[in-house]
């Protein structure tokens, strides 16, 4: 890739600009991937509606921000989306007895379409944006010669805080540890008195919450439209697989890698094909190394897919 950039005479500033846009979208993909992982770890379900949390959070944040101060609007968006996460678990997942993987796949796909169509009818098909957290769309910071929107720093900062906070949550709090115990061995966890069923609900809520927060943070940069959830979900899933399903630390590295790959693909590919890049990565990784770059091949062969 650097050679093709060199032949096009890309300056360091432009290179840095690509780099920043790559890690910005990459950090979003990592957050979605972590959302996938949280639910996957406690339930073994891939929640195809993960991308919808992002858009739903953004939409609610935008609506609330018209009459509430921004921090309250974002908090409201996170709480409502958490409620939707809990509702999905309650309505569609909690009462199924030993459902097959195929059934769960189809159910979460159905849920994602229902959320998308509800958003279309509650709001409309228009593209919306949340206001910038600080400054406006024309304010920019000059870093190492590249001009960036302050929102980029917000996105990177919020992603970092989410990753660190989740790590602390899973290590230090009782609920976090209980969720990890469930992902490790659900029967053993239940024998220790952990309410495994409640942990599943928590995982849906947590996953929805970080999705909504990320959706609010990215909205000023990429805008929010009702049908953008599925493309985001497939990229997040690509990242989750790339890092090894269930491994959230690896997901951060994989997310940044995919974001950078996409950003630098713009130098060699027409814009219309950019979305195909991540899907091609997904297919290649599924076909040749489904355990992910950092995953254990034997361990993943034993998992129930």
């Amino acid at each position: 890739m650097p050679t093709s950039l060199a032949t096009r005479d890309v300056s360091f500033e432009q290179f840095f600009q690509y780099f920043l846009s790559g890690i910005t979208s990459g950090s979003m993909y990592a957050i979605i991937a972590i959302g996938f992982n949280i639910i996957y770890n406690t339930t073994g379900i891939i929640n195809f509606a993960q991308g919808e949390f992002l858009i739903l959070g953004g939409m609610i944040g935008i609506s609330l921000s018209s009459f509430l101060p921004l921090p309250l609007a974002i908090a409201g968006a996170v709480i409502v989306t958490m409620g939707v996460g809990a509702l999905i678990d309650f309505l569609f997942i909690s009462w199924l007895k030993g459902p097959s993987v195929l059934r769960l796949v189809i159910i979460t796909i159905g849920v994602s379409i229902l959320i998308r169509e509800s958003m279309l009818h509650i709001w409309d098909e228009k593209v919306r944006t949340l206001q910038h957290f600080t400054g406006t769309e024309i304010s920019s910071l000059k870093i190492l010669g590249a001009y960036i929107s302050p929102q980029v720093l917000w996105v990177l900062g919020i992603s970092a805080v989410i990753v660190v906070a989740l790590n602390l949550f899973f290590r230090l709090t009782l609920v976090g540890r209980a969720m990890r115990a469930c992902s490790d061995n659900r029967t053993a966890a239940r024998l220790c008195g952990i309410r495994a069923r409640r942990m599943v609900t928590f995982s849906f809520m947590l996953s929805a919450a970080i999705g909504a927060l990320a959706g609010c943070a990215i909205s000023p940069l990429t805008q929010t439209q009702y049908n953008m959830g599925a493309p985001m979900a497939i990229k997040g899933f690509t990242v989750a697989i790339l890092g090894g399903l269930g491994n959230s630390t690896a997901a951060v590295i994989a997310g940044l890698a995919l974001g950078l790959l996409e950003a630098f693909s713009i130098a060699v590919l027409p814009l219309a094909y950019i979305d195909a890049v991540s899907i091609a990565v997904l297919l290649v990784i599924l076909f040749f190394r489904p355990s992910g770059l950092f995953g254990n091949r034997e361990a993943s062969a034993l998992k129930e897919f």
Binding site: F92, V105, I109, L286
Partner: protein, 368 residues
Amino acid sequence: MHPRLRKYIPILAVLLLVVVIQLIISATGANYYLTQLTMSAYYSLVVVGLCLLMGYAGQISLGHAGFFAIGGYTSAVLTTVNLMPYADSSAVEVLERLGMVLERQDLYGNTLLSFSPWLACIAALLITAAIALIIGVPVIRLRGHYLAMATLGFGLIIYRIVLGTGFLGEADGITGVPGFPLFGLEVSGALSKRISNYYIAWVLVLLGMLLAMNLIQSRVGRALRSIHGSETAAQAMGIDTARYKLGTFVLSAVYAAVGGIFLTHYNGSIGPSEVTTMKSVRYVAIVAVGGMDNLWGALLMSILLNFLSLRGYFGSYDDAVFAAILLVIMLFFPDGLLRAPGLRNLAVLREKAAAALRSSRSRGAEDG
């Protein structure tokens, strides 16, 4: 009746129904319904193919709209490309002598020279089969979530390619696709040919059903069912599971392509809306509501739902309706609507009654 012929009864019954429906529609002067029934029939070819893959081989595909599009777009490109600038080249001359190119007039009276629909059709089928084979080899090794995501990704890539490629018409698609000559008839959207096209579509669907039924009642079908039951057990019985799964994947892709090719010629156009993920999900929803391994159920539901959708009964809730159907079926009737608990109990009762009858008869025989 000879048991071998018995399996043709449902095909003949449906054919009779098809004729009766046409007569009623034409008698009431509502011929416009035939257009949607014809389109539904072509979509049903995709559903029948997917039913073989999902219901019998047990493999989900969320990318069948991609195969539909590969068929439709290949045929559309080849029959609308203008070879006039190369008309004097020897290659085109050879093709012309072989009857593989056709001359026609466009709307503005210009002469166009394009590949003949038959050649385009064969090329489209070969290309679809080849792509399905290439994609299929790695895809069928995957299961569950991974299989769903891989096929979804395949469909999305086709969608992106269609949207981003100039000669595929980008967001506008390809229009002006000529009719398809078929033994003196023609597959086209001309109003005067509505009735003949209705029959062409239905004969194709019933041929597709016949092939599918023969397949599942053969050695292949039994092998597929055993794979669905337990892949490990099937392997232990010496069944080459990978080959059967791959074969079914390619065959179901070809079914989708046939639907795509003929619908494109019928509509005279194809666009990116045929390639969206939602289209693929819709096919899956129809197979699910039909009962997964129930070809007739899938066909019935396909005609019903596609017809209602094409007539616009679902309005702006079209996608939501299909999602809701999918959810209700998967939540409450995972074995399909036509095999709902009540009906299953009925079947059990009938079997019990028959068994009781048999035993009382044999007892009667002993007494006598």
